[in-house]
């Protein structure tokens, strides 16, 4: 079973005095975010920034309205990525807020792809999101509400990591009678 390790910075929940240390922490946070974005982008070079329009399309656009729609970056652009245990699926996911907060509710959005087609999110699979602290042998204190959105993505609301320490996020991709798990390690300080 493949395990991705990811350190997510603790989201500050309190107003604090600005200090050099905090500025340094913010810089670290920014660096982390950038690193996460770069890491997420590594496996999906085909769907990063919107593609540049070819010269003929550009000329047509300059000439007036055109039926050629502008390409919009997919919603999963910049999301974290994790591959399932047998390598069949890729799960892209992101949380709101970006940094998983300690003991505050957050939501998670995810998209599932076939490993050999990372352009189109699958619509014929189910996804169950869960989490736990393996070292403590307990799960989340909540049962997040999980819904499928019209665009095929999955959303889990009411997630809660109520303890500092090592968490694991579980993405169980279900297709028919088969379930494949992808999991990510998250450190909360």
């Amino acid at each position: 079973m493949r395990t991705n390790s990811l350190s997510l910075p603790l989201l500050p929940s309190l107003p604090r005095r600005s200090s050099l240390a905090q500025r340094a922490s913010r810089s670290l946070l920014a660096a982390f975010t950038l690193l996460a974005a770069l890491t997420a982008g590594c496996g999906s070079p085909k769907h990063g920034a919107p593609r540049q329009a070819p010269p003929e399309a550009k000329a047509a656009a300059e000439a007036g309205p055109s039926p050629v729609a502008a390409r919009v970056a997919p919603e999963w652009t910049g999301a974290h990525e994790v591959v399932g245990s047998t390598g069949s699926f890729l799960v892209r996911w992101r949380t709101t807020p970006d940094a998983i907060p300690m003991n505050e509710e957050f939501s998670l959005r995810a998209w599932v792809f076939a490993a050999d087609d990372r352009e189109r999110a699958l619509t014929d699979v189910e996804l169950v999101v869960d989490a736990g602290m393996p070292e403590h042998k307990h799960g989340m204190a909540r049962a997040p509400k999980q819904t499928r959105r019209p665009d095929g993505s999955f959303e889990a609301t009411g997630m809660l990591f109520h303890m500092p320490g090592r968490w694991e996020l579980y993405f169980d991709v279900v297709r028919g009678e088969l379930t494949e798990r992808a999991q990510v390690r998250v450190e909360l300080e």
Partner: protein, 447 residues
């Protein structure tokens, strides 16, 4: 670190603070010196050195933000509601024997607890009376979290036949008949229900699983009458909550110490003795108390089983959160109910994610540690009389219940020595905040 190096570090740290570089020096790991000096300038050997990681953990506990708003209660921060709620808090007439008020168990002179292992209302209860200081910060209410708002909590003890034994119809009748209460209520909510017809509004009527006679009277009432009474009961409870939201303690010695860590003020840094500072380091470090006692309230607000045996001895019979999870979802006055002022709000949404399962059997809410020095005894049945007794339990796990069907393994013997235990107690006692204003500790005058 050699003595010479230690002296150099102390001097460097003091210089950094003097130059306003305290936070940066914290990051570098040698900023700890100034507060250590301040705590005990006579003996550098007592200096407690916090590394950057420890300092970051300490800052998670202080300063404490303002209490969260309560959108489910539209009068939560209305001073008129708080004043009426204060009158109701000290009101004895609506108890069945006319002798019990909220303040009977939540005694303002005892930090709003009763100092007894088990609460005592009309009869002895099964659980320890929780404190009310800083209650506005709570996520869940009661030991089992069967209430999700402060106001819905207030409705429980008032009608419980083991506690006050009142009825919501009787409360409505009291409001209607008492000139002052009626005026205060009307100013907030309009006229109270007209309950003059005692046959239509039986004073002993209330919904109850344990009191069949009262329940029968309640069910015999017209549905619209019951609705009107329920609405009035919710309004009264919201006023009590408005009062209880004001029971916020002032900064504790620990809070002053953390301020000192930020600004280098020696006086603030002296708020914690060297022993308490060592206890603080243990709390966020080796002893790992912060796993559950996290954040500014020193509680995760969630539920755990720590294996403490019942007061009467094993086996445990109180299912705690296992029942509480079901009760809060089904509670007629919960945040999603029609009596809530935010039935689609965040608190109401949270109800949909309440987890239940056998692993929750026997779990109880993590209590806040603020004011813990003056709210003995401890645990859901007051099993421990002193902080020392609690820490001895955590250190040895002597007498702990077998894990049973619980898989959670958070609880491991801490194996602390006597000095460490004393240090932790010293730290815990530094969490007592400044008491609430005297005028909040008695019934308001003129009522």
């Amino acid at each position: 670190m050699s003595q010479l190096a230690a002296i150099f570090a102390l001097a460097l740290g003091a210089w950094a603070h003097a130059r306003g570089l305290g936070a940066l020096s914290n990051e570098l790991g040698w900023s700890q010196a100034p507060h250590a000096i301040a705590a005990d300038q006579s003996n550098a050997d007592d200096a407690v050195l916090f590394d950057a990681k420890t300092l970051a953990r300490i800052r998670q506990h202080s300063p404490r933000p303002a209490p969260p708003a309560d959108p489910t209660n539209r009068v939560a921060d209305d001073p008129r509601a708080a004043l009426l709620g204060q009158r109701l808090f000290f009101e004895k007439r609506w108890s069945r024997n006319g002798e019990i008020s909220c303040a009977t168990c939540h005694d303002p002179e005892r930090a709003f607890v009763d100092a007894k292992p088990l609460g005592e209302g009309l009869t002895k209860l099964e659980r320890h009376t929780p404190g009310l200081l800083d209650v506005a910060y709570n996520r869940w209410f009661f030991w089992d979290g069967r209430a999700d708002t402060l106001w819905s909590q207030a409705l429980g003890p008032f009608e419980n036949d083991a506690e006050m034994g009142g009825t919501r119809v009787g409360a409505a009748a009291l409001i209607a008949s008492d000139e002052n209460l009626r005026a205060d209520y009307t100013a907030l909510f309009g006229a109270p229900p007209d309950v003059g017809d005692a046959a239509r509004f039986p004073r002993d009527a209330k919904p109850s699983d344990s009191n069949a006679a009262a329940n029968a009277l309640w069910l015999a009432m017209r549905a619209d009458d019951r609705e009107e009474i329920d609405r009035a009961a919710a309004n009264l409870a919201k006023c009590i909550a408005a009062y209880e939201r004001k029971l916020i303690t002032g900064p504790s010695p620990f809070d002053r110490f953390v301020e000192g860590l930020e600004d280098g003020d020696p006086e603030k840094l002296g708020a914690l003795s060297p022993s308490a500072q060592r206890g603080l380091a243990l709390f966020v470090g080796k002893a790992n108390c912060r796993l559950c006692h996290s954040g500014p309230s020193f509680s995760d607000g969630e539920f755990h089983s720590i294996g403490v045996a019942p007061l009467a001895g094993p086996p445990p019979r109180d299912s705690g959160r296992h029942a509480g999870a079901k009760l809060v979802r089904e509670a007629p006055f919960n945040a999603a109910s029609r009596f809530s002022d935010a039935p689609d709000g965040d608190v109401a949404q949270r109800l949909a994610t309440v987890r239940s399962g056998p692993e929750m059997w026997g779990e109880f809410k993590t209590p806040s540690l603020r004011n813990v020095g003056r709210t003995a005894p401890y645990m859901h049945q007051g099993q421990f009389a002193t902080l020392e007794a609690i820490l001895h339990f955590y250190s040895t796990m002597e007498g702990a219940l077998a894990v049973g069907h619980h898989q959670e393994t958070v609880m491991q013997p801490l194996k602390l020595d006597e000095t460490e235990l004393a240090d932790l107690v010293a730290f815990l006692r530094s969490l007592d905040g400044a008491d609430v204003a005297e005028e909040l500790k008695r019934a308001p005058s003129g009522g």
